[in-house]
């Protein structure tokens, strides 16, 4: 997957300018940066929710914005986990997981149930299948959202702020889950976060955005950026992590 010369924003407000990067098959790329730097905006453009002003989002050699069919083909191979889980509140947890299976496969009811339960089991929520999404915890909602995103065995999984609103333990647990899915299924992962613990725990590569620069100011592994970046903004972002590590030891 590749992003080329992407420019975008909201109304008149330019948020991202000339952003280019690529994501290789099977890697975990973290898009990081301070609040307001445009992570969510980039995600909206990547996922085909908001049209970028300029540039291309290429998936499997095709710009997803080139036609509705291209968009639909890409979406069929993607799974997205939203910040809040974004489960449909009027369905149960298991019905949410079944949703894409019902829509896109010709499996029987029974087969759909089997697949859906196995996905829910992957994220450890088989016991909560019949709960309403509104009555389970925030961490569970995100995991259920992950199960739904995985329903059709996507090639790429997107995560928007998986740690947001979670305590550190739950958040670390979710990170482990993402890592193990990536390892065992070879799923490519694009994750937006500002949580340093997550960045270090799971990312293979980091792309750092900055609000003033309207784009990418650094790329590399998390350790490279922390230890040998010449850019003071990058160092400042990672300094808090250094402080936290000091506190832990």
């Amino acid at each position: 997957m590749k992003v080329e010369g992407l420019q975008g924003g909201w109304g008149e407000q330019l948020v991202l300018d000339d952003v280019s990067f690529s994501v290789e098959k099977g890697e975990i790329v973290a898009i990081v940066g301070k609040s307001g730097c445009g992570k969510s905006t980039l995600m909206q453009h990547l996922l085909g929710l908001v049209k970028p002003w300029r540039g291309r989002v290429v998936f499997r050699e095709t710009d997803i914005w080139s036609s509705p069919e291209a968009m639909q083909r890409a979406r069929r191979r993607w799974g997205v986990t939203f910040q809040s889980g974004a489960l449909l509140g009027n369905l149960t947890v298991i019905e949410n997981v079944k949703l894409p299976l019902k829509e896109y496969t010709d499996l029987t009811e029974d087969e759909i149930a089997t697949v859906a339960y196995s996905k829910l089991d992957t994220v450890g929520l088989a016991d909560f299948a019949d709960s309403s999404p509104l009555e389970v915890s925030g961490g569970m909602q995100k995991r259920a959202g992950l199960a739904r995103a995985m329903a059709l065995d996507p090639e790429v999984l997107f995560f928007d702020e998986p740690s947001a609103g979670l305590d550190p333990v739950t958040s670390a647990h979710l990170d482990d889950l993402i890592r193990s899915i990536n390892r065992s299924l070879g799923t490519t992962v694009v994750i937006v976060t500002h949580e340093l613990a997550s960045i270090f725990a799971i990312s293979d590569r980091v792309i750092m955005l900055d609000a003033e620069a309207h784009g990418i100011i650094a790329r590399g592994t998390a350790r490279e950026l922390r230890d040998s970046s010449g850019d003071s903004r990058v160092r400042a972002f990672f300094r808090r992590e250094a402080a936290e590590e000091g506190k832990d030891s």
Binding site: L47, G48, L49, Q72, R75, R76, W78, V80, F82, Q83, S84, A86, L87, L88, G89, L99, P100, E103, Y104, G145, R148
Partner: protein
Amino acid sequence: MEVVGTLLDKLEFDTPRIFVRGVLEDSETGPLRDFIEKHRREVMDSGQLIVDFQDSTGIDSVPAVVLYGFFKELRRAGVRVRIENSPASVESIFESLAKFDSRGMEERRRSSFREVVEAFGSSGYEFAMMIVSLTRFLFETIGAFVQLIMHPLKIRWQMVLYYMEESGYKAIPIVAVLNWLLGVVLGYQAGYQMRVFGAETFMPALLGYSITWEIGPMLAAVLVAGRSGSAYAAEIGTMQVREEVDALRVMGFDTFSYLVTPKMMALLMVMPFLVLLANLSGIFGGLLAGTLFLGLPAETFISELGKALIPLDIIWGMLKSIVYAVIIANVGSFMGMKVRGGASAVGQATTAAVVLSIFMVILADALLSLLFVHIRPGLSM
């Protein structure tokens, strides 16, 4: 602590001085004002003032701004004001007062008449833009609707049934009762006035016509807008806030056929019957008013009504209700889709949905009445 400013012995000083001692606190603002009042003339006349903080350690913001105002007034009058021996804390307070000196005036200027006019203009502009995007929304819904009609298997019947129950079946009691009540009131009032001319036998015709052409369809539409238009906006708005709409889109669902068309289809199917119910209840109310209050026997009422009404009267209301159904379902869904941000935006969207759909329903009714009033032959009484 006190303000010591006994504006001072002109033998010792040729310049009036205010000495501030200790901390000049909030509570001393009153005495400070009195002090200023008392000595203003004197200071003005001398053309100079020295404020000496030699023995002071600080000043609160409220007395500081009063003092600052006094300095400004003096300077404007050409009086030289000098502050001496002020500690850093006092200095920084006066500095920051000076920095934001004109803020209040700017704010006032911003809310001036011109601002108000501009606000009107821009809210008018926003309203126009909203109508434009609502129209675009309507076309998209109709597009999705036509698609679905051509592929009826894709229609989400379960949802359509759900909304038919929520918006139609559950609205039956309120639509029936309110229209019945209004029928009673109208029948009684009209009959009471017409009796003066001995014309109460015309009441059934007038009542039947008013109810079938205006009041029945309109009241049904207002009730559905209040019950369901708001519910649609709240439902979709909440889904927006919880990112559920985005989730549907990235899963490749067409949000129009998933969220909007089932609602519109349901309303299209139930509205005509709600209007029929409204008409019958209203007329029944009129009949009751006739027999109870006006001594108009039920048989007379019915035969008079039968002479006056034609099938078009009943059909017309049901036809109008199709337009109302499209308006209510689309305005409600549109307002829900427009929601950005948090829970308060959902509340605003529901209110806006009700107000705008009632407005549009009445507008549509007016247009339809103007255009089609002549298709009905005159009442035969």
